[in-house]
Symmetry: C2
Subunit: 270 residues, 2 copies
């Protein structure tokens, strides 16, 4: 019997990439890596701030689509992958004290605490993959895989919860109207990764005063006949955290996500 090797678990691209990141074999932007697997935004807060943030996510599920929450003090997220260690498996981290960034890090040795709670939130990479699979063009990706999506602060207020509140932040992708209709259908299937857009057309209607100058990301490029389509964005909770100024907080660096073992298709409704 000794000659029969143990069955090794199926090693997916997701698990391989996560291990490469843990072992410092990769430290770049994760878009396009491990196609088909969910990538997650990361928010880590002290446990006495966790209940407020959990309620804030629950009250604003479009902007803060919560995939899972850790046990207090545990760096693991078994719902998203058997061997995830949140202290090592993200390429780049940001550490905040009282709402101010105090360090960037490529692992959390020295930054971890036993009272921390980790929140993993869905990200637009998942629905962008679904849009690309449906043959829809995504402008900022067409213009270069290093081009971040245009990102705006709106005058739409999120639902406050405890110490968290703030404006809704949106991403913008331009489409022809018929493409926008198809995009709405596709994204409606993915409520766990921001779901359907919240607006299209006139940016002024949601309080965007200068469309050509987004707060974050690259400048918008629209072709003839296209309309801007706006999705709730995972920067929304980051803005709420900055306003709330918790004494301690860790997030991923934007674009440097946690690669999970959950498949995008597993998040699809109907």
């Amino acid at each position: 019997m000794k000659n029969v090797p143990e069955a090794s678990p199926v090693e997916t691209d997701a698990a391989r990439m996560r291990m490469a990141i843990r072992n410092r074999g990769f430290d770049g932007v994760t878009f396009g890596l491990a196609p088909g697997f969910v990538q997650a935004n990361l928010v880590v807060l002290p446990s006495d701030w966790a209940a407020d943030f959990l309620r804030y996510c629950h009250a604003n599920p479009e902007a803060c689509p919560l995939l899972c929450v850790s046990e207090p003090g545990s760096p693991h997220l078994p719902a998203l992958g058997d061997n995830i260690d949140i202290r090592t498996d993200v390429p780049r981290y940001r550490v905040f004290e009282n709402g101010v960034e105090v360090a960037k890090a490529d692992r959390l040795d020295g930054w971890w605490r036993d009272d921390l709670v980790t929140f993993a939130l869905g990200c637009s990479f998942s629905f962008e993959e679904a849009l690309l699979e449906a043959g829809l063009p995504i402008r900022h990706l067409e213009l270069g895989s290093d081009q971040p999506v245009p990102c705006y602060i709106t005058n739409v207020a999120t639902q406050p919860a405890g110490r968290f509140e703030g404006p809704l932040v949106v991403t913008m992708r331009p489409f022809q109207p018929a493409q926008a209709i198809r995009a709405i259908q596709i994204c409606s299937r993915f409520p766990k990764v921001h779901g359907a857009p919240i607006h299209f057309g006139d940016p002024g209607r949601i309080g965007i005063a200068d469309f050509d100058r987004p707060e974050w990301g690259s400048s918008p490029v629209l072709y003839d006949g296209e309309v801007p389509v706006f999705w709730p964005c995972g920067v929304t909770p980051q803005v709420a955290i900055e306003k709330a100024r918790p004494p301690y907080c860790i997030t991923h660096e934007p674009g440097y996500m946690l690669i999970t073992d959950v498949r995008n298709s597993a998040l699809a409704s109907f």
Copy 2:
């Protein structure tokens, strides 16, 4: 045992209204009657034209969502109701010869033939009911229940099939963008009654030169911030039939529909 009455079948509003129409107790527009039940567009053609029309419907399911087809010569549509008789159960009919209307009728006594095939097509009443239930305003209904929806010929060609071809005809309902997104989600659940819109925004993009003067229906009324949203329309097959000039054809009079025993909810996907 003779004193025990037989159980009577459940009599629905749909069955009651259909019987009232059959018995000349009602001859009006059917919108809003028998809420919850599917109403159908009617096209009756000689059997040697039926195959072409069936293929035309199949090739253009958004504009011609086929609910059922009768056996040749049969005036019954058992898939839509046990006791439907197409010769008596529609309030008003139009009879065409060679593409020209030769008679209006309130029943088909004298007009029926043993070679006729009946097509029942889904109609926008079903998805309008779903939109109203979701709290979305429908402008032409707000302006008066007798106001027909604005209806336009586009420059989008339908897929030809046999002797049938022609432009796509669309209806227009104005919405705020967030309402339009919700309407797209709701209507996507109802592919058997035209499904999702095909366009929103600039009417010129689908060849509508004079938006203020629709080919049929009432003039458009848009409020501040609203965009026009365009759905495929059941007038599309009527235009194709007019162009094809079959020697004989019967339709319902627009607005005077066949009330079926099928519930709108039964047509909903997922």
